[in-house]
Symmetry: C2
Subunit: 214 residues, 2 copies
Amino acid sequence: MPIATLKLYHSPSSPNSRRVRAFLDEKNLPIPLVAIDLAAKEQFSQAYRAINPRSVVPTLVIDDGTAIGEVPAIWRFIEESYPEPPLLGSNPKEKALITMWERRMELEGFAAVMEAVRNAVPGLKGRALAGPHAYEQIPALAERSRQRVQDFYVDLNARLSAVPFVAGAFSAADITAAVTVDFATKAIDMPIPVALTALRRWHEKVSARPGMAA
Amino acid sequence: MPIATLKLYHSPSSPNSRRVRAFLDEKNLPIPLVAIDLAAKEQFSQAYRAINPRSVVPTLVIDDGTAIGEVPAIWRFIEESYPEPPLLGSNPKEKALITMWERRMELEGFAAVMEAVRNAVPGLKGRALAGPHAYEQIPALAERSRQRVQDFYVDLNARLSAVPFVAGAFSAADITAAVTVDFATKAIDMPIPVALTALRRWHEKVSARPGMAA
């Protein structure tokens, strides 16, 4: 499939969009990007809702007009269409282990940061969860989420003291984990604690990859 | 890989274990099961923690001793090793769309029911999230989660008014959605509202598949 027939709707500031941009860059796939202006609430416009009824970025639109939402789903399409270099594994065991580790990075790390942000930021009152429905913020949840991010850092530091990358070799799991660290640093002022040296070393190494600037 | 070399650690009462058992049954793969006694807190035993450090079920252990946790990761291993019949899609577009829909069923449905349970049940005080860490329950979160389950039902009913199965044809997305309905019915007394006829018809149809009794 020629990459010019694909289109990625994204936002430059959205960490979920960054997960996809970094993935594309690792594969050297300059897919055309269309920016959605989240500050202007463009994700709730009728035009964008026709593409993604959940009003979230990113969305990949493919040659026949099909819209694919959700980061792991977009990744899957890209990996199946452009297998090299593999970022989701190249045999059943690797594919399963990368799915497992990437998911843990997302549920224990990324989702905890997102929850801390959405339940605390004044501009997201009544919008505590992404998607089409309105839910009120819960301040106690924002606090619990910060504790989760701390636990995530400690657990990941232990993992990275034993292996060079989250799932062993570099993979999509490292993209999610590195985006999580930068998101936590910027959005909730929780950088990696100085004492967690294995995590800090890994973060430096992954941050040096060109894709992490995408 | 001969199925006798695989082993699934599960719990008969765990809805996440049920997602894997149903998947195996659809593929007609009688993989040996090992039950973990959650009531006796066997998931926190040293023996089980050596298999799954997050102390959750299910876990698939494969021929070389590698332990795979997380339902989508276990599914991925099984699908790659035993492709027929495909439950995760058979071309890049199907694979991506099933990943997308299954994930929405999990995050908007399954996870909301789980959150409602874990933040409310007296026996789970201090255990509001699965995994190795202790987090206190948040009653307001349990309430918000119930609202999310209601919204999930309405959204899924609209989807199933347009298509026969969640992702179009029967797939793993239907397994997660059907397990979610039964989990909500049993654990938080939220059966499908009578007015949501498309959802009810779909649930009857999926429940009749032998795998849903597995």
